[in-house]
Amino acid sequence: MSEFDAIVIGAGNGGLTAAAALQRGGAKTLLLERHNIPGGCATSFVRGEFEFEVALHQLSGLGTEDKPFIMRKVFNELGVMDKVEFVQEGELYRMIVVDEFDITLPASWSGIRNTLIENFPQEEEGVVGFMELCEQVTMESFMGLPQARKMNSEKMLNTNCKNYVKYGLRDAKSVLDEFFDDEQIKTLLAAYWCYLGMPPKDCNFCDLAVMLYAYGVFKPWHIKGGSQALSSALLESFLEAGGEVRFNCSVDAITTDQSGEKPKVTGVVTENGDSISCSQIISNASSVVTFGDLLDTPVLPSGISQDFKSRDLGTSAFCLYLGIDCTPEKLGIKNASTFISNTMDEELMHDTMSTMNPPVATMLTCYNVDDPSFAPPGKSQLSLLCLQYGSVWEDVPVEDYAETKYHFAEHLIEQAEQVFPGIRDHIEEVEVATPLTMMRYLNTPGGAIYGFQQNPEDGPLHRERYDQVSGLHLAGSWQGMGGFQPTYMVGVSTAKAVLKKVRQNKTTQESEAEVANV
């Protein structure tokens, strides 16, 4: 019998939340991570006087103390609410399309409405209708839809999810076109597509609507000490509950018993050659790595193969982490999140992501605007990010890599300097991360940061949970969606399902033992 009730592979958001929930739920759990620190994307690194946030731009789902939302409950259950401090951001984002517009959306639902109407008075009717729709679709997707599906009731669906039925699975672009004539307001409202990785034409309206509504009503947040602080708090909670962790310890194989109809996990083998037996394994590694590389079956289980064939790797990112020797005000940066673009054509932006062409859209984040403690006094940290597919970088000859990377970084600085001149002169530290850097630290194919591409047919209504291998569960951006909130949540929900199995096993074992004793 195994020493552990469950093994979790990978300490990214999905792995950490799963491990903490399992151990706190009474399952003896082993967490194995190949890197030297927990977090996956949700991490930081130190250069000079700066501790750079790697990934978190805006945490969603938290809500305020007065108006709490789901993540407060989740973090509470995981025992980390008193271990971290959250900082609310004042605005959703400022969006600047060079030579077109420069508008800042506040972090308030009515504030967004007023700002939109002020800037686009001719679109007032559209604004009111569109925002109403975002709210309805969000509500329905959280409440009515799961109920209707549970009951399998067409009637409930058609009466309680009217808006979802009509708009939820349409592409975001067509819905924006239906409500607005002005191209500017459409671009402004679609800005968050970069958090999904697919342009409005190719993403579900529902995903965009939920994001706008959730950030608008429940506010965007970040964490004091960065996302690393939350990752470390989750680990702490896991350890406090008696969990066991090993860093610098990659899992090289998941072993199975293939005698039955369905393969059944028996344990893992680590990079040191240790075999650890266990009948419940949660993998936070990508599905492609988990099933394609780690799983010891001679071929992919057929359901997996079928699913993979209808998938594409999602985007990675090119990111510059800048330590700046002055305050954000000095550079004219007034908001934590600024989207800078040279075009309103999202498809062009998306096409550019598969090339080495200078990016046409960059996201600038400066945490110091809302939290001066993010850098030493008088200084600040900035990140410049553009989405980019990893395949372009896989083709760069090894000899040219460093030069290519600096060359591409220049483009990002140039794009940001169109709006905030003088950045370069204030650089004190800079680190460049390419999609290959993401691949190195995350072990994801193509350096993908949100998992598989999120086309409309890749959402939860079209995809089932992987259950082709008994005892093997996936938690993270490759099971569902990428991003912080989804991966935290999928970790917890996966752990809950596994806990049930662990408890069942225990009861069976106990009764078997009793029988044996008799």
């Binding site: 250069r47 969603s60 789902g61 997707s141 959280f142 839809l145 799961p146 599906r149 549970k150 399998n152 067409e154 669906l157 939820g168 592409d171 958090y195 529902c206 994001m211 960065g226 690393q228 602080a229 470390s232 350890l239 860093f247 610098n248 394609g292 590389d293 071929v299 992919l300 079928q306 993979f308 064939k309 209808s310 090894v398 000899e399 890599y401 600096y406 220049e410 600085i413 370069r424 650089i427 530290e429 800079v430 680190e431 290959l436 190195r440 072990n443 194919p445 949100y450 409309p456 959402g459 939860p460 209504l461 079209h462 995809r463 089932e464 099971q479 969606m481 991003g483 989804p486 999928v490």
Partner: protein
């Protein structure tokens, strides 16, 4: 990404299988989605053609370990040897001139490692047959590993090492094109790699090396540097000897502000690299600061744990470096350690293996969690804010000042 319906609904998606009861077909766009998915299933790939592609791609650039063999040992000066290392495995990964590898050694049963800058130009690594890294090692008085390397290592001997790491290299995004390298002793190693890399690539960079050494007969790469300075207008060399023999006609003394100004003129618009023994680094930093060079234009290579931590600010006054404490490693055992020895070293001395690379507090590979007791973290420890909150430390530069229990 804030969309969490994915999570609430995953489990019930099974219903989608049964066409008759699939209520989702009522949703506009649902059936088209099913169709598109089917079409993709017919034409797509299941990523299985290239098993381990991700790992292999990563390993090309950042293999966890290099397997190396000494191809040549070159006696550079009485105190210094260069070890030319070739790969016995895959082709050596690329690096940026100035980076180091951490070389693993086993000396009388103790598994330890030391980081060394690669002293050869990156262009020499690529040849699949003869590609190499040079490590140039200068003897340190009483040094555990340097003594072993200089006195025991022969051609043919094999080592493992980390892949190249570190942040001490020319970053064109903000270092500019006027570079000054202040090197002391073994600091000549990364200097050679950086200079050759600039010159071999024909970069429009003006590079000045000010090279300080104690003795005229112990200057590493003296001939190489002189030849390069002779040949290239954009490379300038100033040699300085601190303990000259009588009659030495070159520059003597230390790399102080006066000498620096004399040699390079204005410091304006220049980036300075500093690499040498810790006292040398500290001295140069002071001098540059006194000349008005901003911190961001001074890049100093890390250089191991502090030699006498008890002299540092915040050292607990009741503890002396010679004191002994008990170190308990959760689930593994315990041993007695000297307060003045970095925790990583005493762990290794007692047979515990902890991953490590920079051994200078910078890379965080050697993180351990202190569950019980206190350690002293010197400024070298580049800890994250949350490390302090939750008790994590970089064992390579941490000194146990009480009995401790750790976890890793």
């Amino acid at each position: 990404m804030s969309n969490s319906i994915s999570n609430s609904n995953n489990t019930s998606a099974k219903n989608a299988g049964n066409a008759k009861t699939n209520i989702l077909e009522n949703i506009v766009g649902y059936s088209e989605g099913v169709e598109r998915k089917r079409a993709r299933e017919k034409t797509g790939s299941d990523f299985s053609q290239e098993k381990w592609k991700t790992s292999n791609d990563i390993a090309k650039l950042h293999p966890k370990r290099l397997q190396l063999k000494v191809a040549e040992v070159i006696q550079d000066t009485p105190s210094t040897k260069t070890f030319r290392l070739v790969s016995t495995g895959a082709i050596l990964p690329p690096f940026q001139a100035g980076q180091y590898i951490n070389l693993y050694v086993n000396i009388n049963g103790v598994e330890t490692a030391r980081p060394y800058a690669i002293s050869s130009c990156p262009t020499h690594r690529a040849d699949p047959e003869n590609g190499y890294y040079d490590l140039t090692v200068k003897l340190v008085d009483g040094g555990f590993v340097t003594n072993y390397l200089l006195h025991n290592v022969e051609v043919g001997q094999q080592f493992s090492a980390t892949s190249p790491m570190g942040t001490f290299y020319h970053n064109p995004l903000f270092h500019g094109d006027k570079l000054v390298f202040l090197a002391g002793g073994s600091g000549g190693a990364p200097a050679r790699a950086m200079i050759e890399s600039v010159l071999n690539r024909g970069l429009k960079i003006d590079f000045h090396l000010i090279y300080g050494n104690s003795y005229e007969n112990d200057v590493i790469f003296e001939d190489t540097f002189r030849e390069l300075a002779e040949k290239h207008d954009n490379f300038h060399l100033t040699e300085v000897i601190s303990r000259p023999t009588e009659g030495y006609s070159g520059r003597t003394g230390h790399l102080n502000a006066e000498l620096i100004t004399d040699v390079i003129g204005s410091v304006e618009g220049k980036t300075f690299y500093v690499c040498g023994p810790t006292p040398f680094n500290e001295f140069c930093e002071d001098q540059l600061t006194s000349l008005g060079v901003q911190g961001k234009h001074i890049r100093i290579e890390c250089n191991g744990p502090p030699k006498t931590p008890s002299c540092l600010e915040n050292w607990p006054s009741v503890v002396s470096e010679q004191d002994e404490v008990r170190v308990k490693v959760q689930g593994k055992g315990e041993f007695i350690a000297k307060v003045g020895e970095p925790l990583l070293n005493s762990l290794e001395r007692n047979g515990y293996t902890v991953e490590n690379a920079c051994r200078s507090g910078e890379c965080s590979l050697c993180r351990v969690k202190v569950i019980e007791g206190e350690v002293f973290n010197p400024p070298e420890a580049r800890l994250r804010k949350s490390d302090e909150t939750f008790g994590w430390t970089h064992s390579c530069v941490a000194f146990p000042t009480t009995d401790i229990e750790i976890l890793y």
